[in-house]
Symmetry: C7
Subunit: 246 residues, 7 copies
């Protein structure tokens, strides 16, 4: 490995390069890919879904303890892609922020407010010198009382945006390309279609058939509103339907 080519030391802390770049922030994006996972978020007609790979780094690990999905409130969840402890730390912070909002205002934090707050916190570590940016990309989902299903992505630079569908992690680019084609006709996906689209995107960009145990899926629906995680049986069921459909 060699020094960041031509970065001339502007990459050793949070300062601007002569081109106006913040290298430590760019390296944090690289760090997301070191985790080796890819995640997908898709907004359907009346639901919103996150899916990610579940790769057990070690066969001895209790598969239940490996998850990239986090329930942030009863109604909002996310998939975290990147450095695992950073993922957990950011999710823990999000849970605290959401609880504090609830306590202060007496109602549940809306998904976009939570995404914005997490992005604001991430921005701070790109501006102040006391700590590095977090090497993690958050895809956050929830049902907004007025806007319906919501899907946000927050990155290490502190950017957050709403999405129809998005990817994160090692194959982010491939996932984006794949999803753009699928979403061109702007399909109004129902719940099964949304889940299956997430699964088929993962399979496509990874170039591999995935088993139910290789996938984690979280979902919020208009009827239920609560963030729920699909069971392995439910995922398997979707895999079967997907196979039958093709």
């Amino acid at each position: 490995m060699s020094r960041g080519a031509g970065t001339a030391g502007y990459d050793m802390s949070i300062i601007f390069s002569p081109q106006g770049k913040l290298y430590q922030v760019e390296y944090a994006f690289k760090a997301i890919k070191t985790g080796g996972l890819t995640s997908i978020g898709i907004r359907g007609k009346d639901c919103v879904v996150v899916a990610t790979q579940k790769k057990i780094p070690d066969k001895l690990i209790d598969p239940k303890s490996i998850t990239s999905l986090y329930k942030l409130t009863d109604y909002i969840g996310c998939v975290q892609t990147g450095i695992v402890p950073d993922s957990k730390a950011q999710a823990t912070k999000a849970i605290q922020e959401a609880a504090s909002f609830h306590h202060k205002f007496g109602y549940q934090i809306p998904p976009n407010a939570l995404a914005k707050r997490i992005a604001d916190i991430a921005q701070l570590s790109t501006q102040h010198v006391s700590a590095r940016p977090l090497g993690v990309s958050m895809i956050l989902i929830g049902i907004d009382d007025e806007l319906g299903p919501q899907l946000f992505k927050v990155d290490p630079a502190g950017v957050y945006s709403g999405y129809k569908a998005t990817g994160a992690g090692e194959k982010e680019q491939e996932a984006t390309n794949f999803l753009e084609k699928k979403f061109k006709p702007n399909p109004q996906l129902n719940q099964d279609e949304t889940i299956q689209m997430a699964i088929s995107t993962l399979q496509n960009v990874l170039g591999a058939d995935l088993k139910a145990s290789d996938i984690e899926i979280g979902m919020c629906t208009m009827e239920n509103r609560k963030f729920v995680q699909l069971t392995e049986a439910q995922i398997d069921d979707q895999l079967t339907k997907l196979a039958e459909r093709d």
Copy 2:
């Protein structure tokens, strides 16, 4: 990329170079252009308008979630050009400052007071070593009770000035040149003319026809006073009028 030529290390933190320059501040101006967008602000006879490009970096992004326009109070809005998270952080700070002013003094903060306050905060990060300057240019608009339509620009150095018309971002120089010609006769633009001038400036400096969905427009008028964002239909309507006029 190479080290800032001949800067000899004076650009690694907030110190003066032997020529009295603050390089990190100059690099922050470069950072504004890395965003790749251009914004326009124009003051009319009885209105003031901000317009900017709406470039969806990713077709999957919910276009509603991409905006460079921020409502700071019911009566003041801005367009932020530059690093997106810095833009949001600065706008959030402006909202807080405006709310705090309202709470303290019992009336709405005037546009120039808010612009001055944001500039003061920006100046601090060019003087103290704890944080970098923000890589963002704010064009702020509002109606002053006494002075009528107001248009301000705040830059990373902490400068704020009032303008008849101005540009920011990648094509700032081109926009300025274009607008200077147009404003030489010191026209008293009505609302439609103001909006169309903003649109035509954007189209001119970008050398491209823009669709309603490629543009964001915010406006305050003497009658209404409130900061409103034009709908895509309203922008389309203006585009049609503009095409007919030419």
Copy 3:
């Protein structure tokens, strides 16, 4: 010894390398191995066991004072592998956190909550510059009221995971390989089997017969729940049974 090859200074503090690596964290993993010990954790059907080498660095040391096992609460224990003072400091912190939880909520902290808390604290020292990461790997065991026997490992990066079985320290990789083979058939081990599996794993990866005095074993069972440390006689008994079984 030479400088970290090609790390170009990115390993002198907590900053990202151009590849998104945090070298000081990677070096902390190396520090775990400098302790020269290997530890094993195994979850049985109705019990969970930690075992580690007891190597008296100096024949004059009171063997009772050398231990890698720590009782964190009456119901949770751990084996610490790595830099000894870091091990003690982290265990002391865990005891305080557990006591504080008990005081605040009125019931015992569950094993996973304690593991998560310790991991969160470890993550902080990979993000902030004021202190180095701890050079220690914690294997924590306990009985969860609902989930039964629990086995967690917390590493210097701040990762914590649940395990069926795991190793830590100098021969972590060898232990993992050995255990994976044994756990392939997903055995439901009873107490004796669990203990003996731990011992035989140690003996296998160290390529040496161990005496009862060379081993430390801690255990929680469904009946008793309390974290107990086996006496030398009990270990000897298990060694005999293990020898007879083979």
Copy 4:
């Protein structure tokens, strides 16, 4: 551009060079000239005047929003020459200090007390490492109850002195030379003469005829005491008189 010749690193922070120099302070003086403006202050018999160039960097800027004159209290004003945001920050600080004095002691701060306080604050940033010196020169005017018209200059080193007349900024040296000749006979200037002296000094050192819109003039008189800014018409009137006189 090259490194400060032979400064050997003593210019990278607030430390003494072997010759007892503080380079960062010297560079701050250079920074004053980067603003490209020249200012004049003149004390008359019963008035005191500041005048400066008004250069609109951009034809689109609202000329009203460009000013180097600041009203610090009803009775004290100043012209700030140098880095614009530093100018505004220092003026804002001066306003706060004056208000705090008024609040504490129940009477208006005298001009020299305010100049001394601003200089004391400037000195601090030449001694402590937390912030750079300000790149601005303040010329402050007011009527002292006992001493009559007062004119002070405060520089980045924290020096403040009273003057009969003085200049600041890009052509400070030329202005000083010009004024010294004019003040040799120690003239007792009346209001018109004072204003015209200020204007003719500016025109002389800039080698250019100035229009009323190119000049800003602030004044305090013995009769009125309040700090007032001349209107463009008033300046034009003085320009005419000056032309007639020559």
Copy 5:
């Protein structure tokens, strides 16, 4: 003297080397030997003893003022080996911690609790950057109500262990070798034997006959419990017995 060979700068502060080493901690161990003294601690059947050299660096020093023995409480004492002011600072801290424990809990701090606390404090300075590790090795003795005679050693890394016998300082290795041979048969030493073993170890590793005035001895016994320091006469008496025995 040359730079730490091949340490490549990892030894200039508290950071991990690529091998996971903490060089500043290793250098602190070197600092212990710069004191030029050797100390011994031995646990007998019903007593525990510390002995050390008393070397008066200067014949004019009041021999009474030179001591490496510290009474930490009425019941716990220690011998400090290494940098003298660090020794005193650590002993003073231990006295405060012991007093604070007594005040808080109403009974005397047990020897192991005090050793653990001192080790915890030492660990902190191996993790945080604000202060260097202490260059001192503490051998602490006392009688535990339940465990009888106790002997602990705390080192600069923050390790503390119980010992049957141990050495510290310049000839630590030689003392350890000597004591290991003597303690192989695991002798149950009475008070005289314990003291004489300590003296003979010192004489042996230093290769010199020591006079009573060259030795300091501290002791706790089961009958008396209090930490007492032997008088020169008592030491002389033991030297005589030792000579007679040989």
Copy 6:
């Protein structure tokens, strides 16, 4: 200019060089001479006098605003030689310390107590890293209730001493040489003689006849006790007497 010859970096902050020198302190002494002024202090039989050059750097400066004399209390004054803003900052601090003493103890601070306090504050900046030493030499005078006329000098190192007569600034050495000769016979000077000695010392070391306007003189006498500054007429009178005497 070149780097401090052979200082090898020991002069970049407050650390000891291998020879036990504090270079930044030595450079602060150099800084005193950059001011280009020389000051004299002389203790007479029943008075004590400070005299210094009054050099108006700029003919336009209000001569009244240029002074190196400071009244610290009604009864104590000083002449400050060196960096002007440092001089003012130190004098301001002295005024505050004297006022605080008066407030706390109910009587005026004695001259030696104030000199000691200022020296203590100066010493701090030679020991701690947060700020540089002040580049100023204070000569402080006053009448002590018991000791009569007092003359102290405080330097950047934090040394303060009482003097019969002393010099400071650019020609400190020459002034000292001159005064030593004059004071050899230990003359008991009356007020006129004291003032004239101060003036003739200045004239002698500067090799120039000084006019009354080139000199500042402050004085305390046994009769009056208050610190008073001589008027230009009074100085002129002394110059005449001095000329007549020679």
Copy 7:
């Protein structure tokens, strides 16, 4: 002057060298000798004396204001040798600590407690990075209620020891050698003998006859207890007796 030979940067702050040395502390000892003075402390049968050179660096200095002797309490005094402002700062601190002890406990601080406290404070600046060690050696004397005359020396490393006699400063080694010979027979000196021994030691190591005005002597006696400084007449008297004796 050259860089500390072979110190490789370990001498630029408070860190251990690979040999376990603290170079900044060693340089502080060098700083003591830069003062150019030598001091002596001698304990007699019923008195204890400090003596030092009184060298007036400048004939104009008020000899009364130059002293290395400090009364710390009515009953304890010291001679400070080394950097003068450090000497005063340390003595001031000692006075405060003694006063605080008296206030807290209601009786005078014993000499050894004060010496220990000053040493503890000195040790801190050898461990923490915020300030350099003090370049001063304190010889402290007093009468202990139980132990009689006491003589302590505290050095920059934070070591303090009791002495029968000792030296400090430029000729410390020579003084020690001289005193060792004199004290070999362990003489029980009366007051005159003690004072004369101190004087003759100074004269001997300096190779010069000293006049009464070249010497400062402080003393505590069993009868009087209070720390008193000898008058020049008293010193002269002793010089005469000494000359007669020889």
